[in-house]
């Protein structure tokens, strides 16, 4: 449960389990708490009540020292991009590898690859300040995927892209997902929800409703407040854990440091 304003919790009674290697859409009206949910996962914010489990560990109770290890395994596309305006495109993407201490040769080749994947080849030297909205968004995406994290959290990653490019980018996330990465994709764009029959979580009024088979059921779920649809489950006001279980591809040392074999629930 997360409360910002007295008596109006943003998220309450959210009880979700996201399996390793899943691809989940999160949607819901503006201000429903999508970004807040993602923030809780990468520990930019902490829950007021309840638990978030990642590999059996409660993220909310991670020590400050472990947060960097957590974040290195999570790639985030921020809704407001969070780029450094006076850094070049290259520097903005490379920073995600540099913090891992990789040699600059590897950094260069992997950044170039990531920029190519988002369609920004040859723009590496421009300062991000001068890029168009869509281009900045793609820089943010490149940064999130460049270190091949275990989970990618994408908060509205196609909001500034035209439909064709949005589908391309969705394809990119699908590709990443095929490599075993878990993707949590928050979006408003119904077109995207329509094209892929992925698991869908609708946040509304602080609750999570599940709609498993795309838009038709979503409309249904929204119209009937999730009660008439047998795929959608409305939850009580009881806070429960959001489970995101362990991954094999965590880098060994971090995984050990973070999720030791004796770490209980």
């Amino acid at each position: 449960m997360k409360v910002f304003r007295q008596g109006q919790p943003v998220l309450r009674g959210v009880d979700l389990t996201i399996e390793r290697g899943e691809f989940v859409f999160v949607t819901g009206p503006s201000g429903a708490g999508k970004s807040t949910l993602l923030k809780l996962v990468y520990r930019a914010d902490t829950v007021d009540d309840g638990r978030i489990l990642f590999c059996g560990r409660d993220i909310a109770r991670l020590s400050d020292d472990s947060i960097p290890h957590l974040r290195r395994n999570i790639g985030v596309v921020f809704q407001d991009f969070r780029l450094v305006p006076y850094w070049s495109v290259f520097e903005n993407v490379a920073v995600a590898l540099e913090v891992l201490g990789l040699p600059s040769k590897i950094v260069r080749s992997r950044v170039a690859l990531a920029l190519e994947r988002v369609g920004l080849e040859g723009r590496g030297d421009d300062p991000v300040r001068v890029l168009s909205g869509g281009e900045q968004q793609r820089v943010a995406i490149a940064r999130a995927i460049v270190n091949e994290p275990a989970i990618v959290l994408a908060d509205e990653p196609t909001g500034n892209l035209d439909p064709v490019l949005a589908l391309d980018i969705l394809g990119l996330f699908e590709e990443i997902h095929e490599g075993g990465t878990t993707v949590i994709f928050a979006t408003h764009d119904r077109t995207l929800l329509e094209v892929t029959p992925r698991r869908l979580i609708v946040l509304d009024d602080g609750r999570a409703i599940e709609a498993r088979a795309g838009l038709t059921e979503l409309s249904h779920a929204l119209a009937h407040e999730g009660s008439a649809n047998d795929h959608a489950r409305a939850h009580d006001d009881v806070s429960g854990p959001l489970r995101i279980p362990g991954y094999d591809d965590l880098d060994e040392e971090d995984a050990l440091a973070l999720f030791g074999p004796h770490a209980g629930r």
């Binding site: 990468y42 930019a44 020292d65 960097p68 290890h69 957590l70 974040r71 290195r72 395994n73 999570i74 985030v76 921020f78 969070r82 780029l83 450094v84 305006p85 006076y86 850094w87 903005n92 920073v95 995600a96 913090v99 891992l100 940064r143 270190n147």
Partner: protein, 290 residues
């Protein structure tokens, strides 16, 4: 880490130069205060210790006895030099120090008693030790009187050590101010770059990874400021000294010295330390937020 720090300096060159200038001014204050303090110290040592004793001889003391007395006095461990001053020499010396009064020069030689001037080893004496020596010498047969200039020396010494204490207080105050200003300046120049810190934290940089280059940057900035301050102070000092050597030299009775190498090194490392400290304080905030 160095390359990242240098990149930071290069990217925000304007802001960084501004802060360096500010740091330099603050450290200039400190260095100036230190310079004054050091010279005041030297001055105090030079004038504050009772290093001169005059042994007035009785009238008509014979040459040989006087010479043996002089030898005995010169052999005392506290005495660096013992010089015999005849009546004629004394008259001449008094005439020289007076304000152009020719009358003394014409006065009969007998008015001015012969004396033995003792110059003491400054490091070996204290006021008490000198008083003891004076008492002992005073009991010798040929000695009319022993002048230790005690009143004058004590007043001057008190005044000088008072001045030195005042300088010390000022230098300390300046140091506190400088500490505040340097760390504030580095903080301000960091504030514009909180976004960088935030981004690095969000992609999983450990606090120490973020901190390193910024601390180094702060230290370089502080050291640069200190170097600038030293150069400016040095230029000022040597120009002024060359210009006013004669007059001030005469007044102060000494040659003003620039800060010693040790103090200069201390200033440089102090500047670097302050810069790093300022960065550190700023970062604590920034890291807490991100």
């Amino acid at each position: 880490m160095l390359s990242r720090a240098l990149r930071g300096l290069r990217l925000q060159l304007g802001t960084q130069l501004l802060s360096t200038a500010t740091v330099a001014l603050a450290l200039l204050c400190l260095a100036g205060a230190l310079l004054a303090l050091e010279n005041a110290g030297a001055w105090t040592r030079r004038w504050g210790a009772p290093v001169r004793v005059t042994v007035f001889l009785t009238e008509g003391a014979d040459q040989a006895a006087t010479e043996s007395l002089r030898g005995a006095l010169a052999a005392l461990p506290e005495v660096e030099e013992a010089r015999f001053v005849s009546s004629a020499e004394a008259r001449e010396a008094l005439g020289r120090t007076g304000t152009g009064d020719r009358t003394i020069a014409e006065a009969p030689v007998e008015l001015f008693p012969a004396s033995i001037e003792l110059r003491l080893v400054p490091s070996a004496v204290s006021a008490d030790r000198v008083a003891a020596v004076a008492a002992r010498v005073r009991r010798l047969p040929m000695v009319a009187e022993v002048e230790t200039y005690r009143g004058f020396t004590e007043r001057l010494s008190g005044m000088l050590s008072g001045g030195r204490a005042a300088m010390g207080v000022i230098a300390f105050g300046v140091m506190l101010c400088v500490l505040a200003v340097v760390s504030n300046t580095v903080r301000m120049s960091l504030q514009a770059r909180m976004r960088e810190i935030e981004v690095m934290r969000l992609v999983g940089a450990s606090p120490s990874y973020v901190r390193g280059p910024f601390l180094l940057e702060g230290a370089m900035l502080g050291a640069l400021g200190a170097a600038a301050a030293i150069v400016v102070l040095g230029a000022l000092f040597f120009t002024l000294r060359a210009h006013f050597e004669a007059s001030f030299g005469a007044l102060l009775g000494m040659h003003p010295e620039f800060l010693s190498w040790g103090v200069l090194a201390l200033l440089l490392s102090g500047g670097a330390g302050l810069g790093a400290l300022g960065s550190g304080v700023a970062l604590r905030r920034g890291l807490a937020q991100a």
